[in-house]
């Protein structure tokens, strides 16, 4: 059948436009302004045009725009495929579709397309909040489909209640769909490997970098998103032990600390490690877009798919692009590399030529003055403790950044201290390196896990002491012990941004429990967990066929329930008129006048008229029944109801005989 062009009503168009807007909005912040501004302009312009009844966009303009957006995509992204260019193009095309949406068919096509765009947002951000917003948006989508379906003449002024009714039936439909959706979600076999191109778009996420220049970590410190969550196998170590080791930085060029590539491929250093006080834990790490895996100082085991560098940092073979879970055992007491490799020693003493002369001079003076390594360290920490301030509001540093920090600004946070301290140690001839990572975390008693946020990012130093190996020295702790004991936000005091206020952080930490549940139950439900899910039922490593069978069985059961609900006989509807008449006859028989089974209402009424319980009302009621029952094919419901009410209200006065 040729589809008829059914024009849209105002409400239908408004709903469709809202759906498009809802689908596009979450994408907008990520899109370049080249896309976001035209898209918003198109939607707003179309809305106005439709409201004012202005002329439609000419077809040459539409055609031009259709050609323009792919070109823009290629110019901006380099190609048309992949998540980023694809979603930008899809958003633009969806906005264009709205321009030409005039009929019901167009609107339905737009809804189809919008559902896809809505879903694609989750490929970028699968956080709890956005997911729930998008799930809620489904109600709007179904309500729009519902509104598009009704072609009956709209009653003026009734559009608001129509909208409410549509939203109501949409939410009921969505709620009823939850069991089947969950069944499909749990049993639908996951793909072990992607069917097409692995997502390879470069992504810029906040997180630990591969290098550190004083001033960069600061971005991290005001970012409150979770970096990873930890569940300990045993007891939770003391807070002062919670140093989460990330990249170790060896090379300093005067402004930036970085890590030489050779460590990425370095083998095991297990033989040079003596350890005690082991602790095992499970980490689920948020996507970072980098290769680092975090572990407590120092990791003893290496998770699968990762290698451990000679500096004890864990590097994953694949980039952490989605939530990743791994189990590590760490040693809290350790003796690391008691015999220093000569190559390492050289690297750990490297200093940039011709930088920071005053710091070198100070280090030399200490070296001569104290003569022992411990003495120099104590002197440096003492200096920090006496004269320096911890603040997130660190001033910018000049060319000789260490000199500038040590002798002029004297204000900074962890990385300034770590950088300056390591520089001083090296200048004094003590092998030293900078370790970046996270420190602390919030322990949730309810969820029994620790959440570590980006704002817990930290940098500290390790110095090599003869006979003891690498020893951690945290110069920040010398300046502000609270940083280690309470966390960055507390230590920063007034210099922390408003949203890191203590009560707000506490609230956030509590709410993190829900996020964690979301991550554990939904986001990380991968092929492996799906296979192992049935182990309690005796199925080890469920394969594709078994999962499909279960999917079919469970969904059949669910659909069978729905079918039963659909087909079940309603309570046999007693004819309302019959019921009311029966009530009337009961009342009459109580008054002593039983209707004979063969007696019709007409003769009954005549018999009633001959007795003394007769009244006008009674005769009227009996006549009304005759009229309702026999004068028309089917009595109108309102009349039957009115009759029933009159029968209920009827009181028959029984007079004593005689």
């Amino acid at each position: 059948m040729k589809a008829r062009r059914i024009p849209l009503t105002g409400l239908q168009f408004a709903l469709t436009a809202t759906c498009v807007l809802v689908a596009v909005l979450p994408h907008l912040p990520r899109l370049p302004w080249l896309f976001s501004i035209p898209i918003l302009g198109l939607v707003a312009g179309r809305w106005l045009q439709r409201r004012r009844g202005a002329a439609r966009a000419p077809s040459w303009l539409k055609l031009g725009l259709i050609l323009l957006f792919p070109v823009l995509t290629v110019v901006h992204y380099g190609n048309l495929f992949g998540r980023n260019p694809g979603s930008a193009l899809a958003c633009a095309m969806l906005a264009l579709k709205l321009i030409e949406t005039e009929s019901r068919r167009d609107a339905r096509a737009a809804i189809c397309f919008a559902s896809f765009v809505l879903m694609s947002e989750l490929l970028f951000d699968h956080g709890l909040a956005i997911s729930f917003i998008l799930f809620a948006a489904l109600t709007l989508y179904l309500a729009t489909l519902r509104a598009l379906q009704s072609v009956a003449v709209p009653v003026p002024g009734a559009s608001r209640s129509r909208l409410v009714a549509d939203l109501r039936s949409a939410s009921i439909g969505l709620a009823a769909a939850v069991p089947l959706a969950l069944c499909a979600f749990v049993f639908l076999p996951r793909l072990g490997s992607p069917l097409w191109g692995v997502p390879s778009d470069a992504e810029t996420r906040t997180g630990l970098g591969d290098s550190m220049a004083p001033g960069l970590v600061q971005n991290l410190l005001i970012d409150d998103s979770p970096a990873f969550r930890v569940t300990f196998d045993g007891t939770v170590p003391a807070r002062s032990h919670l140093y989460w080791r990330g990249p170790v930085l060896w090379h300093f060029d005067g402004t930036t600390w970085s890590r030489p590539d050779i460590f990425a491929s370095y083998g095991n250093v297990g033989r040079s490690l003596a350890e005690a006080n082991r602790i095992g834990y499970q980490i689920s790490m948020e996507p970072s877009g980098r290769h680092w895996l975090l572990a407590l100082d120092v990791p003893v085991t290496v998770p699968t798919g990762a290698v451990r560098g000679a500096d004890m940092s864990l590097v994953s073979r694949s980039r952490v692009d989605r939530l990743r879970r791994y189990h590590v055992v760490s040693a809290l007491d350790y003796r690391l590399e008691p015999v220093l490799d000569p190559a390492h020693r050289r690297l750990a003493l490297q200093l940039p030529y011709d930088f920071d002369p005053r710091a070198r001079e100070l280090a030399h003076r200490w070296r001569n003055e104290f003569n022992t390594t411990e003495g120099v360290i104590k002197a440096a920490l003492g200096l920090f403790h006496e004269r320096f301030t911890y603040t997130l509001d660190a001033p910018l540093l000049g060319r000789d950044s260490v000199d500038d920090f040590l002798f002029h600004t004297r204000r900074g946070f962890c990385e300034h201290f770590a950088s300056a301290f390591t520089f001083l140690m090296r200048a004094a001839g003590i092998p030293a390196r900078v370790v970046t990572g996270y420190q602390g975390g919030y322990f949730s008693n309810t969820g029994n896990y620790l959440v570590v946020r980006q704002s817990d990012a930290h940098a500290w130093s390790e110095v090599w002491l003869d006979g003891r190996g690498w020893v951690r020295v945290d110069p920040t702790a010398a300046v502000s012990p609270a940083r280690v004991e309470l966390g960055a936000g507390a230590a920063a005091g007034a210099s922390a941004p408003w949203y890191q206020a203590a009560w707000l952080s506490a609230l956030r930490n509590r709410l993190d429990l829900i996020n964690r549940f979301w991550n554990e139950a939904i986001v990380q439900f991968n092929a492996l967990r799906q296979q192992n899910m049935l182990t309690p039922l005796g199925i080890d490593k469920a394969d594709y066929g078994e999962l499909m069978t279960l999917l079919v069985v469970f969904s059949s059961v669910l659909l069978g329930l729905f079918a039963w609900w659909t087909l079940r006989a309603p309570q046999v509807p007693v004819d309302a008129l019959d019921a009311a008449y029966a009530r009337l006859c009961r009342k009459l028989s109580r008054a002593g006048l039983v209707r004979e089974p063969s007696e019709g209402p007409y003769t009954y009424a005549r018999r009633v008229a001959a007795t003394d319980i007769n009244s006008n009302t009674l005769q009227q009621l009996l006549a009304a029944y005759t009229r309702l029952r026999y004068a028309q094919a089917l009595a109108p419901a309102t009349a039957v109801r009115a009759f029933d009410q009159r029968v209920r209200a009827l009181r028959i006065a029984v007079r004593p005989p005689g």
Partner: protein
């Protein structure tokens, strides 16, 4: 309620069905009431439903490919909601009872208005669509018995009109599934003969034609009586009504000679249908003029009379006169 024109394709389908009645389900008329149940309700996805499921499949593949569970859950939720809409769709027709049909009187070539009286049981039925006579009628029924809707048929000839097979369908709630059922109620409506556009005046047989045309000229006012529905407004005696408490109508004296005989045989030179049309027109005119009239047809005679019943008897007799063929 709005009629929707139906396309050429459905016209072709209708033609095919006429030629090949074996294809047609429930081709025999059924006695009322007609109860719709699962044995006679059909369900298929609509074209939009197929398109949407294709989009859902693409979404599913995307979510699986990127191994993205929230996206997968979203897709599953949307897909399940769409799929399960088949149940409410089925429920819009299930246990719907067509109780009765009633037709308004109409003349051939006029629109015949047929009222369908449904019993919807305990729940309202939304987005119903009745296709009859190559047109579609969209309507909704509230919960309860005696819910009615009206559709119109174009009539071509006098006599009994059978609406024939009609298709009752719905795409409630989201337009993804099409449920339908065929109904062919045992029902016939009487279609009166077509009226002449400009009929000649009533025959003067037995009365003065002059007087018949100037019948309300006032002198022969006989009496006043109480107003009855359908009395012409100009006959109301306003002054008298103002004095009295109710509306009074002037009753004109109808001399006993003012009776006309409408005779089929007295119309030579006209063919059969033209005579019937002429007589039907005269019946209506005589009724409007409140003239007592009798109708003489080849096989019967209807005695003098006046009023709605008489008019109906005459028009019915005319409508059911055998046609040329018989």
């Amino acid at each position: 309620m709005q009629p929707q024109p139906v396309t050429t394709w459905s016209r072709v389908l209708a033609r095919v069905e006429r030629r090949l009645p074996a294809l047609t389900r429930l081709k025999h008329p059924e006695a009322l009431p007609i109860r719709l149940n699962r044995h006679r309700i059909y369900v298929l996805p609509t074209r939009f439903g197929l398109m949407y499921s294709a989009v859902l499949l693409v979404m599913l593949l995307g979510a699986l490919n990127y191994n993205n569970n929230p996206a997968l859950l979203l897709t599953c939720l949307l897909g399940a909601a769409c799929y399960q809409s088949v149940f409410p769709a089925f429920r819009t027709l299930d246990r719907l009872v067509l109780h009765a049909l009633r037709a308004d009187p109409c003349h051939a070539r006029d629109a015949l208005r047929v009222h369908l009286i449904f019993d919807t049981g305990t729940r309202p039925r939304h987005d119903l669509c009745l296709r009859a006579d190559l047109r579609e009628w969209n309507f909704a029924l509230a919960a309860g018995s005696g819910e009615a809707t009206a559709i119109e048929f174009t009539t071509r000839q006098r006599g009994w009109f059978r609406p024939g097979r009609m298709r009752l369908s719905s795409e409630y709630p989201f337009g993804l599934f099409h449920v339908w059922s065929w109904i062919n109620p045992e029902f016939a409506a009487l279609v009166y003969p077509r009226l002449e556009l400009h009929p000649p005046p009533l025959p003067a047989s037995g009365i003065d034609a002059e007087r018949a045309s100037r019948r309300h000229d006032g002198d022969d006012l006989a009496t006043l009586r109480e107003y009855r529905p359908n009395d012409p407004l100009r006959n109301i005696a306003w002054k008298a009504s103002a004095r009295y408490d109710a509306l009074l109508v002037k009753e004109y004296e109808q001399p006993s000679g003012q009776r006309i005989e409408l005779d089929y045989a007295a119309l030579p030179g006209l063919d059969r249908e033209a005579r019937i049309r002429r007589l039907a027109s005269w019946v209506c005119m005589a009724e409007a003029a409140q003239v007592r009239y009798a109708l003489r047809l080849p096989d019967q005679r209807i005695a003098h009379g006046c009023g709605a019943d008489h008019r109906h008897a005459c028009l019915r007799a005319l409508a059911l006169l055998p046609g040329h063929a018989s």
